[in-house]
Each structure stands twice: as structure tokens, then as C-alpha cells.
């Protein structure tokens, strides 16, 4: 049991990484980016391309891919999300859904349906492990991913609370109109936030490629995990994302010990339980939610 808990916590680090960007974009721009998973896969393919064609290690490849992801984030916000957000809350969701389909199919056209992995390009790191007391084996890569998640979340937290740009991003997320009245360029703040979110997505995609296999249509699953971790941890809360990732991963790991299919089901059950608890503690309740839906329908 202790082994499962340790593995679950370490896996939670990866989920925190993938959920971090989704949560960040939602909290700052109020946009649910349904292309999140596909963009992570795009990053993984970019690293795979650099490694397989140009023999650039995936870790070194991050120096190229992460700035590219930042540029993609900047362009997405400036040319797509900003414009679609003017059409209401639903339009950005539909836009990013469409974007996910475009990315998935472009990747399929370019790379085919074969599954790939970055594991062959990182040597023994993909399978090396340390033995902890009690015959618990922890993968070195899993520890690196967990540490990367903690460092990233901590760095983001410091950036948001201790820098002028971070304060501007927080002000924009809280009240963009008033942010403008105190001298904050809300448009610039949103664009930088989107670039930061894409860098975190790029990093998550890299670690996904190192620890597992991926194919052009793997984005939807990653989006689901990111969404579940973000909701469990409380969308918009950085450290909550880490807790959400750990809870999701623990539920999956423990679910897998019950039944081979229990990995995914365990995570979904944990997500639903937290969702229902949130609904009831928010004072809305399921009945209220249904009433609201009925009221809107009528």
C-alpha cells in the first residue's frame, strides 16, 4: 500500500504540471482551453522531432521548444482567444475545441498514427530508480517530474506575488477594467499569461513524452486529467493544483490495485466526489443546480 501511495504522489506531480497551465489560463483570462492537451502533445512531438532528426536531447530541446510554446501562447491570445472572448464565454470554448481538432489532425497528417516516446532519447533515466526503505522503488524520472512541478508552481507563485508584472496579471484576472484605470495594460498582461501557460504546457508535454507514449490523438486524455486535477484542487489555485494532481493520481493508483480498469475509474470517481462536495458546500446543491438549469431552459 505504501508503494502505491508513493507512486501516486509522484504521478500527482505530473498531473499538477499539466493542470497548472489550464488552471492559470482559467484564473487569469476566464478561458477554458480545450486545446490544452493537444498543445502538450504538440510540444512532445516537437521534442521528438528534434531528438529523432537532429539528435538533440529532449532536455536540451526544451531550450528551443519552450520559447516556441511561449510564442504560440502569445499568438493564440492575441489573434484567437482575445477576439473570440469578445463574443461571450462560450465562444472561446468552441474556438479552443476547434483548435484541438486542427492540432490533432495536423499531427496525424505529419506523423501518422504510430505511438512515439521520448524515453529512448533520455537513456537509462526513463527506467532507473532508487530503492527506498521498505522495498519501495521510485523512478528517478518520476522524482524529477515531481520536483519540477514543485519548483514551477513555487516559481509561478513568487512571480505573481513579488513582481510588478505578476501583480498586473493578478489585477487583470480580478478586474480587467479597473486594472486599466490604474495603468495596467490588460491586453499585454493576458498575452504574457497565455505565453506562461503555454510554457508550462510545453514542459508537461515533454515529461509526458519521457514517462509514457503519445500519439496525435492523446491530447484529449491529457486534457481530461488536467481538468480533473484543476477542479479537484480548485481552479485558479496554484498549490491547489498540486494537491488536486496528487489526489487524482492517488485515486487512480489505488483504483488500479482494485481492478485493472480501476485506474481511470478511480480518478473519475474522486473527481465526481469532489465536484459534488463543492456543489453542496457552495450552497447551490444539485437541486439548486438543476433548478437553475430548468430556469435557464424556460
Amino acid at each position: 500500500m505504501m508503494n502505491q501511495i508513493v507512486q501516486g504522489i509522484l504521478l500527482g506531480g505530473y498531473y499538477a504540471l499539466i493542470a497548472c497551465g489550464l488552471s492559470f489560463m482559467f484564473s487569469v483570462m476566464r478561458i477554458i482551453n480545450l486545446a490544452h492537451g493537444s498543445l502538450a502533445i504538440l510540444s512532445a512531438f516537437a521534442l521528438w522531432l528534434l531528438a529523432s532528426r537532429f539528435h538533440i536531447s529532449p532536455f536540451l530541446g526544451l531550450v528551443i521548444v519552450l520559447p516556441l510554446m511561449a510564442v504560440i501562447g502569445w499568438a493564440l491570445q492575441r489573434f484567437l482567444l482575445e477576439r473570440s472572448a469578445r463574443g461571450g464565454a462560450l465562444l472561446p470554448i468552441l474556438t479552443t475545441f476547434g483548435l484541438a481538432i486542427v492540432i490533432d489532425n495536423v499531427l496525424f497528417e505529419q506523423f501518422g498514427a504510430d505511438t512515439r516516446s521520448l524515453a529512448p532519447f533520455i537513456g537509462s533515466l526513463s527506467y532507473d530508480s532508487w530503492e527506498w526503505p521498505g522495498s519501495i522503488y521510485v523512478g528517478k524520472l518520476a522524482v524529477i517530474i515531481f520536483v519540477a512541478a514543485v519548483v514551477l508552481l513555487g516559481g509561478l507563485q513568487l512571480f505573481l506575488t513579488h513582481t510588478g508584472l505578476g501583480r498586473s496579471i493578478r489585477a487583470t484576472s480580478e478586474d480587467p477594467d479597473t486594472a486599466g484605470l490604474v495603468g495596467v495594460d490588460a491586453r499585454r498582461a493576458n498575452t504574457i499569461a497565455a505565453a506562461i501557460a503555454m510554457v508550462t504546457v510545453g514542459l508537461a508535454g515533454a515529461f509526458l513524452g519521457m514517462r509514457a507514449t503519445f500519439d496525435p490523438y492523446a491530447g484529449a486524455t491529457q486534457l481530461l486529467f488536467a481538468f480533473e486535477a484543476a477542479v479537484i484542487g480548485g481552479a485558479g489555485s496554484l498549490w491547489g493544483t498540486l494537491i488536486g494532481g496528487i489526489v487524482l493520481a492517488l485515486a487512480q493508483t489505488l483504483g488500479a490495485t482494485v481492478h485493472p480498469q480501476g485506474f481511470l475509474i478511480g480518478g473519475h470517481v474522486a473527481f465526481l466526489i469532489v465536484l459534488f462536495i463543492r456543489l453542496y458546500t457552495s450552497g447551490l446543491g444539485l437541486r439548486g443546480l438543476l433548478g437553475l438549469a430548468a430556469g435557464k431552459a424556460s
Binding site: 506575488t161 510588478g164 501583480r167 479597473t178 486599466g180 484605470l181 490604474v182 495603468g183 495594460d185
Partner: protein, 241 residues
């Protein structure tokens, strides 16, 4: 510093909230904007700050036409608004709210320390979240945040709204200090006596138009009250529009 508002029209959808308003303010002057609820005072102030786009007319600041200039750029040029309802960032501390005021990057004398000296009630609350402050503390933070941008023109919208008389006295005491330091101020205020006591110019608005404009020393309270209710007759001390 000079501000010139020329035949300004601002709409909220189909409603014309400001209808061809013109006036000017010179350096060091304090203009009081008075009028009933819905007269267009707040909309006018927000249009000067860039929060509302004008349908027609111009706002000229220091000789530059501000039409189409976004609000954050206007702060950079020296126009700062203390909005109605304070509109603080409630998840941030007092200090963080004040530091945000420096985003525009204008050089000047205002610092967090000076704001805390000006509003001593904020000193012990420096690291408290803005959402946990009293009304008076919130108002002081909102004014301090605007001052941190080192403005040449300070727009104050209903600074006494919802505050106890004692707190209003404190806020106005600090305003007197700002006025004597030469800061140009446009003040929207419901309390006529206070508005006339701190200003040297007064404009009374009615249904989006200027109903009365004049020198605060020469306009009687009675004249302003009549203009307030649309009863002003030509030939009084002020200049009816």
C-alpha cells in the same frame, strides 16, 4: 497641465448619458461636479479616464487629443481616477494595491511610505487584504493607489459615498493637503457644502448636460440647488448652459 472637454457625448447603448458637455480645468484648480443621480457625472469622469469611449467630442489633455487612447495610456499621461465604489483588488494587500498604482511608471514623489504618511490609518493595515478593510480604509487605499501614479489630474468619484461623517472628515482633510500641494482635481460629490468648500470651480449637471457652471466663491448654494433640480433661471450668479 490643462484639460479641455469639448462637446463630449457619451452613450450607454441607446441612452445618451453625457450630452455635449464642454469645460476646461487649469493646473492647480479643483472642479466640483455635482448633480442628481443619473445626471452623467460618473460617466463623464470615466470618459475622461478612458473607461468609456466618447461617441463624439474630444478630451484634450496637455494639448493632446485623448480620443481612442486606452485608459492605461491615459494613466501614463497623468490622468488617474479613483472610481466610485473604490474598486480595489480585494484579493491583494493594501501594499500590493498601492504598488499597482506605479505600473504606469511615471516619476514623482509618491511612494508607499508617503501614502502611509498621508493616510496614517493605513499603516497598521499595510499587509491586510483590501477586502478586509473598513470603508474609510478602502477609500484611503483607492486614493493612495491613484496618487502612486503621480498624476497631474486626479479624478475623484464619490469619495464620501457610504462613509461615516468622521471618516469623510479624514478623507477631506487629506484632500485639502493634496489641493494645497497643487494637484489638479475633478471631484464628483453629492455633499454640496463639501464640494463648494474644497473647489474653486463648480459644474452642476442635469440629464447629461451642464445646467450651471461657475466660480465656487460666486455661486450660491441656492443657485446650485435650483440647477440640481432644473429650476435655474438665467441671470443668476453662475453661467447656465
Amino acid at each position: 497641465m490643462s484639460l479641455s472637454v469639448e462637446d463630449l457625448v457619451v452613450r450607454h447603448g441607446l441612452l445618451q448619458a453625457v450630452r455635449g458637455v464642454s469645460f476646461s480645468v487649469e493646473r492647480g484648480e479643483t472642479l466640483a461636479l455635482v448633480g442628481a443621480n443619473g445626471a452623467g457625472k460618473t460617466t463623464l469622469l470615466r470618459a475622461i479616464a478612458g473607461a468609456h469611449q466618447a461617441a463624439s467630442g474630444r478630451v484634450v489633455f496637455d494639448g493632446a487629443d485623448l480620443s481612442g487612447v486606452p485608459s492605461h495610456e491615459r494613466v501614463r499621461k497623468g490622468v488617474a481616477l479613483v472610481p466610485e465604489g473604490r474598486r480595489l483588488f480585494v484579493q491583494m494587500t493594501v501594499e500590493e494595491n498601492l504598488l499597482l498604482g506605479r505600473t504606469a511608471g511615471r516619476s514623482g514623489d509618491w511612494s508607499v511610505e508617503r501614502v502611509l504618511e498621508t493616510f496614517p490609518n493605513l499603516k497598521p493595515r499595510r499587509h491586510a487584504k483590501a477586502g478586509h478593510l473598513s470603508g474609510g480604509e478602502q477609500q484611503a487605499t483607492a486614493i493612495g493607489r491613484a496618487l502612486m501614479s503621480n498624476p497631474e489630474l486626479l479624478l475623484l468619484d464619490e469619495v464620501s459615498l457610504g462613509l461615516s461623517p468622521l471618516v469623510v472628515d479624514r478623507v477631506y482633510a487629506s484632500l485639502h493637503g493634496l489641493i494645497s500641494s497643487g494637484t489638479t482635481i475633478i471631484l464628483v460629490e453629492q455633499d454640496l457644502n463639501r464640494a463648494l468648500s474644497v473647489s474653486n470651480k463648480v459644474i452642476c449637471m442635469l440629464e447629461g448636460r451642464v445646467a450651471l457652471a461657475g466660480d465656487s466663491r460666486n455661486v450660491s448654494r441656492d443657485e446650485v440647488t435650483k440647477a440640481y433640480f432644473g429650476l435655474h433661471r438665467k441671470g443668476a450668479g453662475g453661467v447656465p448652459a
